[in-house]
């Protein structure tokens, strides 16, 4: 599986090679005995919104800090615009960071904060004023130039931090969980705001977050990280619909994971025995062979329920209703198969069975393409997940 992901990543890197801004080339980072980043290997393309997503301690911030220059890789290379910058200090790298707590200079006005970078590089005075004004307009803070950071709201401080970084026209903008301190509503506004600004300036954004919804909303591509390793890189759709690993499937959204025994593999369709039934599952992982144990992944909103066994080219398992929770847009049904696997189905109003009660027996089914087959997590990988 590991080989497979790497091949996938290499292929992606190759496909975007001619316009890659940042290359993380077999980068590892060790802090004492702790491996924070383990052989990360991917490229970030010109103008894309790239997210690094993972639980805390997965190595995403360390990777970002290596791109910024605050940390040096233990092995491997960080290349910026094709040049190895692994040993170049932050003040000589043309990337800028939006820090988690913004780190605005409290003794300076908004204008001086934003002008700090251009002044460091000794840009001409007249030009600096023009660039700062332009940035203030982009972040909608034109009237706030003479304020102090402490006189601004959280969202406004966030915009200043953004302007302060973007005013330098960096090759890439690095954002370290910049929305973490904002409340939900403001966070959602700022997500769209960030997207708009990114489109407007056309600069590569590298965004670190532990919030999968945020990553899905904003990113062109996402790198999902876990325990120092990159588990998968892909578009939000790819990562949601075709997770490469059980970890990715579970981390992004809700996933039904049904243990399965592979019976046969023909082309890109595998036949499996799962939950006491035999059905077909599309398979992309070439390392999965007959007689392997694997996991069938299917999203809750793809499950249909019916009282009778459905006919047609569908995969179906029989289950008992354990709990029904009305959640507004959907009815959340917790089901359990005879083999003891728990399933969750999100039932829309059109598919609702009004008479359904806990204890009822029913059939959960899905079109074959809705599922995918993943290699089951072996015990060593599982301990890695926990740590």
């Amino acid at each position: 599986m590991r080989l497979n992901i790497e091949a996938l990543n290499d292929a992606k890197e190759l496909s975007g090679l001619e316009n890659t801004v940042i290359e993380i080339s077999h980068v590892s980072k060790q802090f004492g005995g702790f491996k924070a980043v383990d052989d990360a290997n991917f490229g970030i393309r010109q103008g894309e919104f790239f997210s690094m997503l993972g639980p805390s301690g997965c190595g995403k911030t360390t990777t970002l800090r290596m791109i910024a220059g605050f940390e040096q890789p233990t092995s491997g290379e960080v290349r910026l615009d094709g040049k190895d910058v692994s040993k170049v200090p932050p003040y000589k790298r043309n990337v800028n960071t939006v820090f988690q707590n913004y780190a605005l200079f409290p003794h300076m006005t908004v204008f001086d904060n934003i002008a700090f970078g251009p002044r460091s590089t000794k840009a001409p005075k007249g030009e600096i004023a023009g660039r700062v004004k332009e940035m203030l307009e982009i972040v909608h803070l034109a009237d706030f130039a003479e304020r102090r950071p402490t006189q601004l709201s959280g969202g406004q401080q966030q915009r200043v931090a953004l302007a302060r970084a973007l005013v330098n026209y960096p090759s890439a903008l690095l954002l370290d969980e910049p929305l973490g301190a904002l409340d939900l509503k403001l966070r959602q506004t700022m997500q769209l705001e960030l997207k708009r600004i990114q489109r407007e300036v056309g600069i590569t954004f590298v965004f670190v977050t532990h919030d999968q919804e945020e990553a899905l909303t904003m990113s062109d591509r996402i790198a999902v990280m876990n325990a120092g390793r990159v588990e998968q890189i892909g578009t939000p759709e790819e990562i949601y619909h075709q997770p490469a690993t059980v970890f990715v499937a579970g981390f992004i959204g809700v996933a039904n994971l049904i243990p399965a025994a592979v019976v046969a593999v023909t082309g890109d369709l595998a036949t499996v025995d799962a939950a006491g039934h035999r059905f077909g599952v599309p398979v992309t992982d070439e390392s999965i062979k007959p007689a392997d144990s694997a996991v069938v992944m299917v999203r809750p909103e793809r499950l249909h329920i019916s009282l009778d066994r459905p006919t047609g080219d569908l995969a179906a398992v029989e289950a008992t209703v354990e709990e029904l929770v009305f959640q507004g847009p959907v009815l959340r049904a917790s089901l359990r198969t005879a083999a003891g696997t728990e399933l969750v189905a999100h039932i829309g109003p059109e598919d609702a069975l009004p008479m359904l009660r806990p204890g009822d027996r029913l059939w959960a089914s899905w079109v074959l393409d809705a599922a995918c087959l993943l290699r089951s997590v072996d015990t060593t990988a599982e301990t890695a997940l926990v740590s």
Partner: protein, 292 residues
Amino acid sequence: MSAKIERDAQGRKQARYTPWLLLVPGLLWLIWFFYLPLYSLFRMSLSTKPSRFAVPEFGWAWSNYSQAFSQYGAQFQRSFTYALAATIAALLIAYPIAYVIAFRGGRYRNVLLGLVVVPFFTNFLIRTLAWKTILGNQGPLINLLHTIGVLGPNETLLRTPIAVIGGLTYNFLPFMVLPIYVSLEKIDPRLLDAARDLYSHTWRGFRKIIIPLSLPGVFAGSLLVFIPAAGDFVNSYYLGNAKTTMIGSVVQDQFLVQNNYPIAAALSFVFIAIVMVVVAIYSRLLGTEEIA
């Protein structure tokens, strides 16, 4: 209902008076032990005392002030020059100490701060007398300075302006270290990351971020050193000579030896006035109210 309104009104009234009630003890203390004595000192400064043993009599004697100026101008000037020199020396020594403790101290921070404060456990007079021994002609320092040729064979350390300024610097150093440390310690180290990220090497980050943000500490520290140093008489008495007399010594001499209370009082008021002017100019220059 009306009872509740009444209770609320009463509560509000209480809330309005509480701050004033809390001020009362301090105000009484200040009035009794500071403003009244100050007033009596002011009356004294305008009194006449024809002879050493006469009782001073109030009489709008402004001549005391002109006498204070004309007779002791040199001592005033010397006091403020020495105090300024000691303040600058203390700043130059204290800033690096405070910086290292705040940013590099790690878990030894409190130990290092303790080392800064430890000399305070010894009496001020004893510390100054210890300096006398260290700088003295039989002391270890003078031999070293003679050997390496910093001082000529007939030159000494004790009883020089250098010794007085050194003593003032040493005695008031902790008053400089602690406020600077407090203001440095409050600086978010991520601001330095941000400065580095925005193309500033370490020195520019220090100049543009650390120095401005530590100014309140520098301001407080230099006042805490300058004011007591300017009024000090112990250091010039034990470490200086007749030509290093500071205004504190003159006041002490006039009060306790010459018994010339009116002149001593006038000298004190001139001193207070000069200090207030200096502090006002200094705070205007540093503009600390804007930073804090």
